[in-house]
């Protein structure tokens, strides 16, 4: 499909909305990131050859290396590879009606957030470990930039996930039945649900660290609050993150094994149910990372039990993969070798994981190299190996050429051998009591460290073979036919493309263009500006801890970034509000039903975000000894009036929508304007309230506040809600501008409905917040 010119045209690379091309960009980005994160891994292993310093002069440099290696491999390599395969394969596998993702432009935005995230993370040089536990992460340099990078990476995968859910659910051709979809589609669907559920929680945790660092809040303060709270919030995301990475790999590997065994996937329905089970259970096992923190023994029993249960579906999958090979005619090409390695390594990862779920054993093995070995078996020797298998399997389809088999096999043997040597050495080190994240170590561990280092270099060498295999493949002749490049008796077996189906059924030519959009990547890049502004406001720039508020007026750079962002927004509004809308997507008439639930999928992630924010705030409140009576410190009647204003605005919004549905455009515009004005009244009211509170001195973020903990959660909850109101008002303003230019009509007002739902959601959140913050 790739005409070869794609990577030579910066404009196309920047503006493409074609999912297959974006998939290639994901692969390229992930490969570059793999080289960087892999280099860090080799530097770490080099350093550990002896207990004395070899490469890193100080422990801090070493700490940066493993932080960047871990963060990079997870968020910039493995998760993007899953998204890359998703982009490339899902629209084909579900015969998407537009032969693309459901929202092509948002897809572009999601991709371009990834290189941005990469740059932020690589340059952050944060020495905190990828888990970023406070108080360490509150006091160390570089963390602001690291957090900004992670928020970009998280937002990228959230947008991608919403898009995957929509593509699979709504973009799927009617003749592609649920239980006949490729298992990779199921894997992507469950992963996307997990991303939507879990990522907002990570964002909330990271933002709270950012606020603690720069805005004087005390969410995780050791003297006023409890730093362990962060670990709960963090692992609520980060345990599912493991499954976010591995579920697409499960799907990919099922296909490769069945193809190269020339059989059907054994136990298709139990595979789907197992994946669903894993996805559901994965959000209820997080505290198994915290057995040594001194949490309640009863809580530990719950989590150890749940974790045992989640091993069951994983076991079922392993057995099913084995049975898939039964009575096959197995062809041992590179993809199959990688797939077989995946089964063994995943089993190794599974059984080493059992040890650390048994609390008595975990009290010894926790935070040692045993854990490091365990998750490397799952992620590096498991998930990444599945990605390699599929990369080689789809290589002919992507490039039209065949990779070099000999080099690919060398890649396999070096990688597999290296994995085995290194990670088994890790397990042994862990058993003998070697803690992780050690810059230097007692001498008795040296032998196994050296064995691990040798294995790591084998892995490093294997990547060279991979590069040669790809290079030789790209230089080789085009394949004559892509129907069955591996001579397996069957090819890639995608369902009939939707356009062909329409042609056959309706005799109509469905012309699907993948348009270039420069505004989409520009949008992604523009989002860098406010974050750069934020970083500039931290004292001494992004590399130091500071008090952003104090230097707000002092930082010229920060103000310039913010002004640039506002200018961009202005241009964007100007351009988009005058654009001609009402032109239908060519496939719109074949899409069934209402489009409400596009916004519902988005709102689901918002619900989780606010649940996390409110939940953490409530947890802080319960654990705090000094909590003020809200009647004494806040003006409840004043806020009740503001609440009333917001409720009225929901009515005006509903009325406005009612009028556009009836075709009464004048009244539609009038009520829309009322809604905007009421929103602005609410915002102004909130600003006045903040100013008053700052004057009174009880509820402020200043050092001498009477109730620092109450103030922290007060500003967190109301502040984030305020931001949402602001965004809502901006979008309503945008709708109003369009409406004045006659952009909506009786038949064309979906966008108004979507914004309306968002607005009602924001109002509803406020009613909850008013209750929990002001009344209770």
């Amino acid at each position: 499909m790739n005409d070869g010119n794609f990577f030579r045209s910066p404009k196309r690379m920047l503006g493409t909305t074609n999912a297959a091309e974006l998939g290639l960009l994901y692969f390229a980005t992930a490969f570059i990131n793999l080289l960087i994160a892999g280099t860090y891994a080799l530097l770490i292993r080099t350093e550990l050859w002896t207990p004395d310093p070899i490469y890193f002069d100080t422990a801090k440099d070493y700490n940066v290396a493993f932080t960047i290696h871990g963060t990079g491999m997870i968020f910039l390599v493995v998760v993007p590879l899953g998204a890359g395969f998703g982009n490339y394969l899902v629209p084909k596998m579900v015969a998407a009606d537009n032969n693309d993702m459901y929202w092509p432009k948002w897809n572009n935005v999601a991709f371009w957030m990834l290189p941005i995230a990469s740059v932020f993370i690589w340059f952050s040089q944060a020495p905190i470990g990828w888990t970023a536990y406070p108080p360490l992460s509150i006091l160390m340099p570089g963390v602001d930039m690291w957090i900004v990078g992670l928020v970009f990476a998280g937002t990228s995968s959230s947008i991608g996930a919403i898009n995957f859910v929509l593509t699979i659910w709504k973009g799927r051709a009617p003749y592609v039945k649920w239980m006949s979809m490729d298992l990779f589609v199921w894997g992507t669907l469950f992963t996307s649900f997990l991303v939507i559920i879990a990522t907002p929680v990570l964002t909330a945790a990271l933002v709270m660290i950012l606020l603690d660092r720069n805005f004087n809040t005390v969410f995780f303060s050791e003297s006023l609050s409890n730093p362990i709270l962060y670990q709960h919030v963090f692992w609520f995301y980060s345990h599912p993150a493991v499954y976010i990475m591995v579920l697409p790999a499960f799907g990919l590997i099922s296909t490769v094994i069945a193809k190269f065994s020339r059989t059907q996937v054994f136990g298709y329905s139990s595979m789907v149910i197992a994946m669903a089970g894993i996805a559901i259970l994965s959000v209820s096992v997080w505290a198994h990372h915290m057995y040594t923190t001194g949490i309640d023994p009863f809580v530990r029993i719950f989590f150890t039990s749940m974790t045992f249960v989640i091993a069951i579906p994983s076991g079922i999958k392993v057995f099913n993969w084995l049975t898939t090979m039964y009575a096959g005619r197995i062809k041992l090409r590179a993809p199959m070798l990688f797939a077989l390695a995946f089964i063994v390594m995943f089993t190794m990862g599974g059984i080493t994981g059992v040890y650390i779920n048994i609390i008595a054993l975990d009290l010894n093995l926790h935070d040692t190299y045993w854990v490091v070995g365990h998750f490397h078996f799952i992620v590096a020797a498991g998930t990444l190996v599945a990605m390699f298998a599929s990369f080689y399997y789809y290589f002919p389809e992507i490039t039209g050429k065949m990779y070099d088999e000999k080099m690919a096999k060398l890649h396999f043997w070096f990688w597999f051998g290296g994995n085995f040597i290194t990670f088994v050495a890790f397990q042994v080190l862990g058993m003998e009591g070697m803690p992780r994240r050690y810059y230097t170590y007692p001498e008795e561990f040296q032998l196994w460290h050296q064995i691990a280092t040798i294995g790591a270099y084998l892995m490093g060498i294997s990547i060279i073979f991979m590069a040669i295999s790809i290079h030789r493949g790209l230089k080789s002749e085009k394949l004559e036919s892509l129907d069955d490049p591996f001579e397996l008796g069957s090819g890639y077996d995608y369902p009939e493309p939707f356009a062909d189906y329409i042609k056959r059924e309706h005799g109509e030519d469905l012309v699907i263009e993948h348009k270039l959009s420069i505004w989409a990547p520009a949008g992604a890049f523009s989002l860098v500006l406010p974050f750069l502004g934020l970083l500039a406001f931290t004292e001494g720039g992004p590399f130091a801890r500071g008090k952003a508020l104090e230097s707000f007026s002092g930082s010229l750079g920060g103000n310039i970034f913010i002004v640039l962002f506002l200018v961009y927004l202005g241009f964007f509004f100007q351009k988009e509000s005058s654009a001609h809308i009402g032109e239908l997507n060519p496939v719109d008439k074949y899409r069934e039903g209402e489009r409400h639930w596009e916004i519902w999928v988005f709102l689901a992630s918002e619900v989780i975000f606010f649940t996390a924010v409110i939940g953490v705030s409530q947890a802080i409140k319960w654990n705090s000894l000094t909590w003020p009576d809200t009647n004494d410190v806040l003006s409840v009647p004043y806020t009740a009036v503001l609440t009333f204003v917001l409720i009225i605005s929901s009515f005006t919004m509903a009325t406005s929508l009612e009028h556009v549905k009836n075709g009464d455009m004048e009244k539609f515009k009038k009520y829309l304007l009322f809604t905007i004005i009421l929103g602005l009244v609410f915002l102004t009211g909130q600003i006045i309230e903040y100013a008053q509170l700052a004057g009174e001195g009880d509820v402020t973020l200043a050092d001498n506040a009477t109730y620092p903990l109450f103030s922290s959660i007060f500003y967190l909850q109301t502040g984030f809600h305020g931001l949402h109101v602001l965004v809502g008002v901006l979008f309503l303003g945008f709708v109003y501008l369009r409406a004045r230019k006659g952009g909506y009509s009786k038949d064309n007002h979906t966008y108004v409905e979507l914004i309306g739902l968002y607005w009602h959601f924001v109002d509803l959140v406020w009613i909850i917040l008013f209750t929990v913050v002001y009344l209770i």
Partner: protein, 232 residues
Amino acid sequence: MRKNSKYKLTLLGSLFTLLMGIQLVSGRSNLSDSYDRLFNIVTWISIVVLLFVSVLMARFVLKYREEVEGARSPIGHTMAKKLEAGWTALAIFIILVLMAVSYPTLSDLDDTVAAGTGEKLIIEGTANWEWVFHVQNSTGGVDVIRPVVDSNNVKTTTMTLEVNKEYNFIFWASGSWIHSFFVPDLNIKMDVNPGTNNSISLTILEPGNYVVLCAEFCGAGHSQMRGVIIVE
């Protein structure tokens, strides 16, 4: 043909490596016996599972390679349904066995650890990446033992405890970092949190020198923060 013997060799080699690697640290505290027994049981279960998966896979690869001629008889529909249920039952069975062997030690451990009995001993983790031990001396006072720093900046704090005597270790973080008190030879680890104090009760049954490490990443001095418990 060569291809396959290579494959077999790799598998055998892998298993050998795994078995060689498993050498237990011998148990020396009141918790160690149950730890060792449990570790052994889980290891045997793991070896059986890994062997089962690897051998089955190797067998299928050898038997069903495309080079091997001969008819294949695929699994019939009814058999497939039974097998699917069978695999599920097997996975559940393995997990049930693991639960059955691990739960009893859980309550042992919690009883011992949470007992709160024994002579009080404060283990302080400082902001400077040091262990400071507060030990009761024979005159009834408290000795505060600070670390000795060597040329590599490794900070080692040494205290002497009595064999067969129950101690109540109380963990206190005096600085901002979270540490974790880890004695590999005693198979025990407990986080040292700022703000809240964990504690464990422990009786050491054998004389000897026990190395203390920090297991929770705490910043620049994490790997150089060490201690020794001399048990006499």
